[in-house]
Symmetry: C2
Subunit: 505 residues, 2 copies
Amino acid sequence: MTHLSPISRAACIGGGVIGGGWIARFLLAGIDVTVFDPHPEAQRIVGEVLANAERAYGLLTNAPLPPRGQLRFCASLAEAVADAEWVQESVPERLDLKRRVLAQIDAAAPPDALLGSSTSGLKPSDLQEGLAHPERLFVAHPYNPVYLLPLVEIVGGQATAPATIARAKTVLDAIGMKGVVIAREIEAFVGDRLLEALWREALWLIKDDICDVETLDDVIRYSFGLRWAQMGLFQTYRIAGGEAGMRHFLAQFGPCLQWPWTKLTDVVDLDETLVEKIGAQSDAQAAGLSIRELERIRDENLVGIVQALKAGNGGEGWGAGRLLADFERRLQAKAEPAIAIDVEAPLALVETRVSPAWIDYNGHMTEHRYLQVFGDATDALLRLIGVDLAYVEGGHSYYTVETHLRHLGEAKLGETLRATCQILASDDKRLHLFHRLFAGPDGREIATAEHMLLHVDTHAGRATPAPAELLSRLAPLAGAHARLPAPPAAGRAVGQKRAPLAATA
Amino acid sequence: MTHLSPISRAACIGGGVIGGGWIARFLLAGIDVTVFDPHPEAQRIVGEVLANAERAYGLLTNAPLPPRGQLRFCASLAEAVADAEWVQESVPERLDLKRRVLAQIDAAAPPDALLGSSTSGLKPSDLQEGLAHPERLFVAHPYNPVYLLPLVEIVGGQATAPATIARAKTVLDAIGMKGVVIAREIEAFVGDRLLEALWREALWLIKDDICDVETLDDVIRYSFGLRWAQMGLFQTYRIAGGEAGMRHFLAQFGPCLQWPWTKLTDVVDLDETLVEKIGAQSDAQAAGLSIRELERIRDENLVGIVQALKAGNGGEGWGAGRLLADFERRLQAKAEPAIAIDVEAPLALVETRVSPAWIDYNGHMTEHRYLQVFGDATDALLRLIGVDLAYVEGGHSYYTVETHLRHLGEAKLGETLRATCQILASDDKRLHLFHRLFAGPDGREIATAEHMLLHVDTHAGRATPAPAELLSRLAPLAGAHARLPAPPAAGRAVGQKRAPLAATA
């Protein structure tokens, strides 16, 4: 298996919520990570972030992730960075502290190691002062939760080499993140500039009793928040401007900016009274949900939103969903040569996990999601014999014409699922398959699926013999599977024999 | 059928993009709408918004919408408002114009008609001046696209009666929108205050060449935009603050606000040079996609995001998704008494449309979505015989134990689908069904599904006889269906007979 990422060793200095998120991103991309954080609870905190990240990734994608990197906590900063190709600094947001830590990293890390800072506001030029190798320092500013939100703002300082920016972007793109390069450094870069503007206005609205925090949050999440998950400010208003265009929209909009609407010119005094007011309103809004529960809801919603965007734009994906689809294609391409095929047993082709969107009101996996997993198993078999995207684009494919499902048990949110495939029979046009689905660590069998597929000319819309090359890949598998015992449940019609009683909704 | 909404007649004065969105919301909720707009192309523009809205609603929900209200364009404002219970003003954003139009509405509408203004910034007290019935005027500020984004800011002025606010909120909630009441009027209310703060900062970032519009949009949509589709500012940072809590987060955050990060104290000069710069960057960002194409992508993404949120929070729904789920439950409850059952033919139980998320890379409906629609048909039959949410919560349900699918054709994005159900056999525990799925205006048959269901005690996890009351509702249907011809495809095993060649992916 070739490596997913151009680097294989990263060091993380500081392992809080942000540092932990970086650690998770690196490990899940197959990169080994060394960590230095003197906080006595660093291992626990990193462990919790990592557990959240693995759960979220399990829900987010079924693509074959590389083997997880090795995680090692080090007793000193120097030990952690000694062998690193990328060092990410995520210590508290104080210039003096960051400068001191960065100087230590600079002295101990290999001179060509990339050196990223997670600062959300400090200018990289200010961080570079006094470094022996300032050319490899840059800001890599991520967003919480780092393991799910793909954005990283890449900002160079006066001494940063252009090659550093290019290398950083290459690594981030390879591990499924979205590195965007900010053209000129300013404090707070782009994202936090926008957020701070919003925050200032929001604090005034609460202080002046225009609304409470729940109303303000509702205003965001029932309106422009839904737009911003997919398009930003400018593209959204390009549409709002209609056929007249962006320039016309701006010309109309300009005068409003002169109106004395905002109180942004003043800085709100965030005194004890205002902090307490917001704190109390926030408690009421949470309605008893703990931070852990809110975090779980947030992550599952993020997974659902990204998956919805992946299905968008006519199936090509859009925004964060397109990014995920591209990442999965790369994972797929990297993984395929590594599949170990044992032709003497049903093929284990799919391993996945029950996603939040798959759950019905009973807390069980919904009926049609079983067929989705079986469909993924069929697709994996087809890829194995050469029916990939290029083959389909060439005008041929296998179509499923008939399916028989048996439900034998239930699956719950987050449970692992494993599907196996046995080829019952095949000829030049037909492919007769039997899948079994197993759930949980005990691998209990929860469903079976029998499928008949036909090889078709997709333009003509009719069955046609598969080419010899494809059949030659199918033959050894089909031949070996012909020697396996036939599943007793194959060939049955609905109601032919009394169905088992343990069943699912 | 009882009415979904407490009002049955609305008038819309001004039928642009916003007015058209209101018209669509009212009509789709079964409310008759009269329109006055002197613009020569008003009918075309409203027609286009309405077509977008119907398409979006078709993708958004399968719940039974009430019969669409009647739309009538009027030759005068007085005629349009004469009989209205809610008049919505959506004319251009100029105080003098709005005052003149509101005075005309006030004089011609019934004195107890609600009078909402779509203004995005003017204070309702300023709009009330000189009205004979100022107590019924309020701001009802929606967000584009009005037919998909649920938020309406409800703002009262000095003369607005509290009962007006309450009535407005009741109507909006009934038609599936999210009315939030802003406690005190200020110019631009809450949403546009926040947006304007962001806009000011964004324009400086572009003018100062910190980034281009695509980078700025990417910063939003790959990071906090994904958060804001589900939670707003405060709830998001409540989580970011971790177990230390909101007050701790604010205490840490406060000092940053004092830093001289933003240029909000200055108003950017949106001169020709800046307009042209943004216009050119926006053209590049659109990458050749027309406004119509971007609009379609946006709407399909919004549908996908809302549906993802509907599946969130363990199936209970979250934010805009919870709102949709609640709305659908009300639609379901209203519609059921109206279902006309013809027991002498297979039951037509489901009418839906192929949603964007159902499409595979070939542009066809994905395999497992067929089973989803068949599952909906099974659920509709079960509701008909009394297996509703309360019944399931009581500890009994029907579980599907076996399914046989045949694929006969394909379905494309947006096509209508209709599923019929024939009861093949039943006893006190078993229910044997045969569904057929028809697509498009020609109603071509694209799939069939044969199912075996068992009545189960869900706590004990085993089959148990259904209660007499339920069986007595099933009996007349099953008896009538027993006299229908048996479908030739029933009772077949996979591969038993050569499958038809026209098939689907």
